[in-house]
Every structure is written in C-alpha cells, then in structure tokens.
C-alpha cells in the first residue's frame, strides 16, 4: 500500500495500515540520522513553516531538524515574536504566511481543532504538532515507533498511560493509535484528572496506579501540566508523587522487561522518580531520537505524491 495524505491532523482518522505505513517509512528514514552527512535531497525546494503558538522546544526542534535533514527550507515562527501579540487573528496570520507559498505548515496551538480549522481554509498542507487537549499525532506515532522498536510488535501488548489525562493531547492520540494497532490501553490517574466518558475511546480506567501497571509491557508517564491549572486538581505535588509517581517499587509490579516512557519534559520526583527516569527500563531518549525519523516520514508523505504536482 501507499499513503499520500494532504494533511496530518490526528490519529483518529488514520487506519491501522496507514499508521503502519508511516512507521515503516520512518524506519527507512531513521538511518539518515546516524550518517556522517545527515542530509538527503528528498524535499529540496519545499518550504516548511513551523507555526508555534505555544511554547515547545522538543517538538519544534524535532520538526525543524526533520525538515532540514530532508533538505526542506524550514522557518520557525513562535507566538511571542509574531503579530499574534499585536492582535491578529489565527486565520489572518495563516493567510499571510500562505501568501509566501510555503508547502507545509506545522502548527501547535492552544485551541483544540485549530489545525482542522486551518486545513479547511488553506491550500498548503497542515501537520498538527499539538492542538489544545485534542491530538498530538506525531507524538503518538513516535511512541508507537519506540514500542515497536523495543517489543518487536504492538498488537497484544498492555500499555499503561498514567497522569494528568484531562490536559493531555498525547493521551487521546495514543489511545487511538495503540487501539488501532491492537494494544490494550489502561489509563491511570486521580479521578479529578480523568475526563468522564474516557472509556468510550477504548481503554480501561484506573484510579490506582499499582493496579494499572501490574503485568504491563509498557508504562507511559504523563507530565503534570502545572501551567494548565494542574495544581487545583490535586492537593499537592508531594501527595501526587506518592500515589501516582512511578518509582522503582511500583515499577516492579510491571513485567520485568517493561519499558518506561515519558513524552517530556519530565518533572523529576513528581510523576517519575529519577531512579526510574535514568533506569535500565527507560526508553525516554529513544523516543526523542525516533521523533525526528517519524517527523521526517510525515513531512515526506505529506509533501510527496501527486497532490502538489502543480507546485513542482
């Protein structure tokens, strides 16, 4: 099969075959990142605009490096330095950027649905780099890629995602992605941080971390999002760390070869103990490394194929 999307807005609308195709494509691109000359000419002459309305270092840098390694011209715009602070609307900002003929806009925005809104209004391709609490498809794909790399498969595995679920777009994309690939997803967190009806997305919900991680193959810890009023949902960070932080003792309940993941940035001593974050079972930096390959695959698949032929 081949997969040739105009936009990548979320995992929800992708099929298992399409997700696997993206992961296989990323597998082929991964080798470039370890070469002496880390560049291929694939996207020469394409312009990628990273439009970030929210702070991000990891995702933005990852997309920028991915674009540059494919020889695309990448331009970064962040909200604090843009005309947004002068009162311009999202649509006006985007239309002004489009007037300069980029091929792909990679956008992060605090409003859920902002990327879908732009994709309907612009001619260029849009890749969602995180919209509000909705989706973060490239993160879910790099998580799936990392699990597949370490476990050799995804189907049949039990994956626990624990923490501030209500504020996490990573969770939604990951539930869709892992479900489609045949994994069993367990969600754990304080009741105040679990949105009602989450089970309908296809997961089991636990309010006890120990119970959730027993016999798990993979544990994904989420960041307590202090900037998103996380602190009003829990009595204190200390109490949170005691009940929902992953330490060595709790990790022993999982399978002995279980892997520990975190989308970053980590709050050491809160959701994850340093001994676990730096321990044998952590694959956190593999996630970051794989992120570049996965984003190369997304840029390539969005830019390639016949849909942009007029621009070639």
């Amino acid at each position: 099969m081949s997969f040739n999307p105009k936009h990548v807005l979320g995992i929800k609308d992708l099929s298992a075959e399409e997700i696997t195709f993206i992961l296989d494509t990323a597998d082929s691109f991964k080798e470039i990142n370890t070469r002496q000359i880390k560049k291929v000419p694939t996207l020469r002459g394409k312009t990628v605009v990273n439009l970030f309305f929210e702070a991000s270092t990891r995702t933005r840098t990852s997309f920028e490096i991915a674009g540059k390694r494919l020889s695309a011209d990448t331009v970064n715009i962040s909200a604090s330095s843009s005309s947004v602070v002068k009162g311009e609307t999202l649509e006006d900002t985007a239309q002004n950027i489009e007037a300069m003929h980029p091929d792909i806009i990679v956008m992060r925005h605090s409003a859920s649905g902002a990327c879908d809104y732009l994709a309907e209004r612009l001619n260029c391709s849009v890749i969602n780099a995180g919209d509000g609490t909705h989706e973060h498809p490239s993160q879910a794909l790099l998580d799936a890629f990392t699990i597949r790399q370490h476990k050799g498969k995804i189907a049949g595995l039990t994956v626990v995602i624990a923490g501030d679920v209500a504020h996490s777009r990573v969770v939604r994309s990951n539930i869709y992605c892992l479900n489609k690939l045949g994994a069993k997803v367990k969600i754990a967190g304080p009741r105040t941080m679990i949105p009602p009806g989450l089970e309908q997305l296809g997961c089991e919900v636990y309010t006890n971390l120990e119970e959730a991680i027993t016999d798990a193959d993979c544990i994904m810890m989420l960041r307590i999002q202090r900037e998103r009023q996380g602190k009003t949902l829990i009595p204190s960070l200390r109490e949170y760390a005691r009940f929902f932080g992953l330490n060595e003792q709790k990790l022993k309940l999982a399978k002995p070869d279980a892997i520990v993941m975190h989308p970053g940035p980590m709050n050491r001593g809160v959701e994850i103990a340093s001994s676990v974050a730096d321990g044998q079972q952590n694959v956190i930096l593999d996630q970051v490394e794989n992120g570049v390959a996965v984003r190369m695959a997304l840029l390539y698949l969005v830019a390639g194929g016949e849909k942009l032929q007029d621009n070639c």
Partner: protein, 178 residues
C-alpha cells in the same frame, strides 16, 4: 488485446550472463581488492547477492554486499503514487572503495543517477561502476553501463520483467509487448 510475452533469457541464460559479468568485474578490477557490491532495491539487490556468490566461487573470498534504496533521491517525488521507502543497508565504509552498482534493468538512467547521489552522500568512493542484467536503451541521461548481461533494444511502450523465485534468484527475463 492480449499482451505478447517473449522470453529473453531463461534461468541458465541468466546464470551464464551473471557468471560472465563476475569474470569481467574481476578482470577489469584485477581481483577483489577494495571491491564492494551495492544492489539497488529490489531487483538489483537480489542480483548483487547472486554476483557476490559468483565472485566467491571464482576467488574463494566474499566481497562486501550492500543494499541501497534510491527513493529519497528520485527526481519524481511529486508525481509518484507509491511513496514507500525501503531501507538502505550498507554496513561498511565506502571511502576509497571501488563500488559495483548493480541493477536489473537499465532504462532512462534516472534510477542510476539517484543511486550515484545516494552513494556519494554515504562516502567518497574511489570509483563507481555499473553492472546491469538488461540494457533496454532509451537513456535520458549520460549514463552507460560497464557490465551488461544482455543488450536489448526495445520500444518505449514495451516492458522488461525479471522474474525471481522464492530464494530471490533470477529465473528469467521477459519482454512484454503491449
């Protein structure tokens, strides 16, 4: 209208052509010193493995074998419907090596141009030579093969198909007339 299929080489014919190419490569390069084989996915990779085997039979020593996928270096990204990218696997250094690039069919020469670009990005070889099972003509770039299994003038609307068995051994070459 039914398509006419003509057998150009049978299994023995392919084997003889590869044996001769192996001898020519060794004669021209005066042995296997600094020699490496790189097959272009997928047909060329299979043939390169067969050539490696032939060279081992003659010299009693194996030459390194790599596989290259040229999709990332193609000039037609915007008009391709199939975007699948295969893996490149070259587990040795290319610097100062004599590279024998292997492909099944030589047509416009664009795949070879892409392959040369891909190889050059991985290191600076001493030389690149080209071994081809079938040269069907219609070159669009100034590229010529050094070792040719079979020269076969074709018309543009004909197709050349190399058949491989389960072990990825070339079994036959067919010309398909439309």
């Amino acid at each position: 209208m039914s398509k006419e299929v003509i057998e150009i080489l049978d299994s023995d014919g392919v084997t003889r052509a590869l044996t001769r190419i192996a001898h020519e490569i060794l004669e021209h390069n005066k042995g296997i010193g600094n020699l490496v084989l790189i097959g272009i996915r997928t047909g060329g990779a299979y043939l390169a493995a067969q050539l490696q085997q032939k060279i081992s039979e003659i010299e009693g020593e194996e030459v390194p074998l790599g596989i290259i996928d040229v999709t990332m270096y193609r000039d037609d990204l915007c008009s391709r419907s199939d975007l699948a990218v295969g893996q490149t696997d070259i587990p040795f250094r290319l610097r100062d090596q004599k590279i024998i690039l292997v492909d099944d069919v030589l047509f416009t020469g664009r795949t070879i141009r892409a392959a040369m670009g891909a190889v050059m990005d991985l290191g600076r070889p001493q030389s690149i030579q080209l071994a081809i099972l079938v040269d069907r003509g219609h070159r669009e770039l100034p590229i010529r093969p050094d070792y040719i299994g079979r020269n076969l003038p074709t018309s543009r609307n004909e197709q050349i198909k190399v058949d491989f068995d389960d072990q990825n051994t070339a079994q036959a070459v067919h010309l398909i007339k439309n």
